[in-house]
């Protein structure tokens, strides 16, 4: 059940960022599936062979515009905001935005970034150098965007930080910590942007469950987690950031809404009715069927599994794997064992990671 809850986050987070301004893609289902957990990261990992365009562009010459970026921690604080917006410029490929941000503001070495994304140091060096060449060749400005551009450009920055966080979601705690550090930096530099606080809150609240989420290689659903292993200080810090975001603007954006949901889920007694309401608002904001799936989960937890099943069956999500695991769990709760078994078996065929497979196998065995 909580698989959908735990795993669909970034697909709809990215959707949440992009759809309001671009409109839903032509094939939202395929898009969401393609943007699901680790898909973006998989793409980064697969991109082992880069076209060696950098040489054509004369990468041997020093890239004057990006000298600042190479200064790393000696970059003067007043210019870090300009630096972030340059690194996360939409004219750069997302993988390049991630690498540049980690290199320039995350204080990671090229070798460390390469290791995090499972590419060779040489490949990462080329990726960084190509991005810097493009910044120079196309005159990407080293500046905070004009007000009329700011909402879109801020969304791009937040998406990069959240992508880094998600890369560290299950395995690489160091990357998650790095993303949180970047989130704190953004909060410091843009103290009046609610979505910046929303993202920081969301990351802290999710990270607070790190120790409880995977135990001995087993993915533990939220409902079964040992809450004494939740990091209380991160929960508190996350909730404080959320409070600040809501005080800045009561009409919450996508990150604030997700943080509010995570905050409710951090409580001993989860108010599932309220969670469902928040998912409904997030669904209206994003138009995402994955968010609708999460709303169905909340509706079921609030005591209406039949209504939840009807909702799930109305979604056009094709072979999105969490659709089938969620459907299976709802059928199990409704006592429809044969249908539940078939749905779990379908979900098992679609499962992408070992912890997921083990969780579904446990459910099947318990039918």
């Amino acid at each position: 059940m909580d698989l959908a809850e735990e795993a669909a986050q970034e697909a709809f987070a990215i959707a949440a960022e992009r759809w309001p301004r671009d409109g839903p893609p032509e094939h939202p289902v395929a898009w969401l599936v393609a943007t699901g957990r680790n898909r973006a990261i998989d793409r980064l990992r697969r991109e082992l062979v880069l076209q060696d365009k950098t040489r054509l562009l004369g990468a041997e010459q020093p890239a004057a515009t990006m000298d600042e970026i190479d200064l790393d921690d000696s970059t003067i604080p007043d210019e870090r905001l300009e630096l972030i917006f340059t690194c996360c410029h939409p004219a750069l490929a997302v993988e390049a935005q991630v690498a540049l941000t980690l290199r320039a503001l995350g204080g990671l070495t090229t070798e460390e970034i390469a290791r995090a994304f499972l590419v060779s140091e040489e490949t990462m060096k080329r990726r960084l150098s190509r991005a810097k060449s493009k910044i120079k060749a196309t005159a990407i400005p080293f500046a905070v965007p004009a007000d009329r551009l700011l909402p879109d450009r801020l969304a791009a920055v937040l998406a990069v930080v959240y992508l880094i966080f998600n890369q560290g979601y299950t395995e690489r705690a160091d990357l998650a910590a790095e993303a949180i550090r970047l989130g704190r930096l953004l909060v410091e530099l843009m103290a009046d942007e609610p979505e910046v606080y929303g993202l920081l809150a969301l990351m802290l609240l999710h990270d607070s469950r790190r120790e409880a989420r995977v135990v001995d290689g087993q993915l533990v659903p939220l409902g079964e987690q040992d809450r004494s292993r939740h990091d209380r200080s991160k929960v508190d810090a996350g909730q404080a950031a959320l409070t600040r975001a809501l005080s800045l603007r009561p009409a919450a954006g996508p990150y604030v809404l997700q943080a509010a949901i995570a905050s409710l889920q951090a409580e001993e007694e989860i108010d599932w009715d309220e969670v469902a309401v928040l998912y409904e608002r997030l669904e209206r904001l994003t138009g995402s069927p994955v968010v609708a799936l999460n709303r169905a989960v909340a509706v079921a937890e609030a005591g209406a599994p039949e209504r939840a099943l009807a909702l799930v069956d109305s979604l056009e999500l094709g072979d999105y794997r969490y659709l089938h695991s969620t459907r299976a769990e709802l059928l199990r709760r409704l006592g429809r064992r044969d249908e539940a078994r078939a749905a779990f078996e379908h979900a098992l065929r679609l499962a992408a990671t070992d912890p997921e497979r083990r969780l579904i196998a446990r459910r099947l065995a318990g039918l």
């Binding site: 004219a91 060749a137 196309t138 005159a139 990407i140 400005p141 965007p145 004009a146």
Partner: protein, 118 residues
């Protein structure tokens, strides 16, 4: 910096416009042409009029049609002088082909050093 804006209208999108819409779109193209930052531009005749010349070993290859084998073909271009990429991208987004479902590719020109007179 000088930027070329290569315009790829959605196939058939301009032809599908009504008379009034067409003149509005046309006026938008001309307004961009008259922007002080515009250094030049051109509207290409349809892709069917294209002939492609390619290296073909002993003899060069001459074929009917545009080079790229796609439905969207280059329909025209502008060259703008803009202070940075953000300014260029804002101009590009004003090109009607974009809201009519097409695309505009923005590419900086290689800066040619000014030759000193002898």
């Amino acid at each position: 910096m000088k930027y070329a804006m290569l315009i790829y209208p959605k196939a058939g999108s301009h032809e599908a416009l009504g008379e009034d819409e067409y003149s509005t779109v046309n006026a938008e193209y001309w307004a961009l042409r008259e922007d002080s930052r515009c250094l030049g531009g051109g509207h290409l005749q349809p892709g069917e009029t294209a002939t492609t010349v390619q290296y073909g070993g002993a003899e060069n290859l001459i074929t009917d049609g545009p080079y790229a084998d796609t439905k969207e073909v280059l329909g025209g271009y502008y060259v703008f002088d803009a202070s940075n990429l953000d300014e260029a991208l804002e101009l590009a987004q004003r090109i009607p082909a974009v809201r009519l479902g097409g695309a505009v590719e923005v590419r900086p020109l290689v800066e040619v050093p000014v030759e000193t007179a002898h």
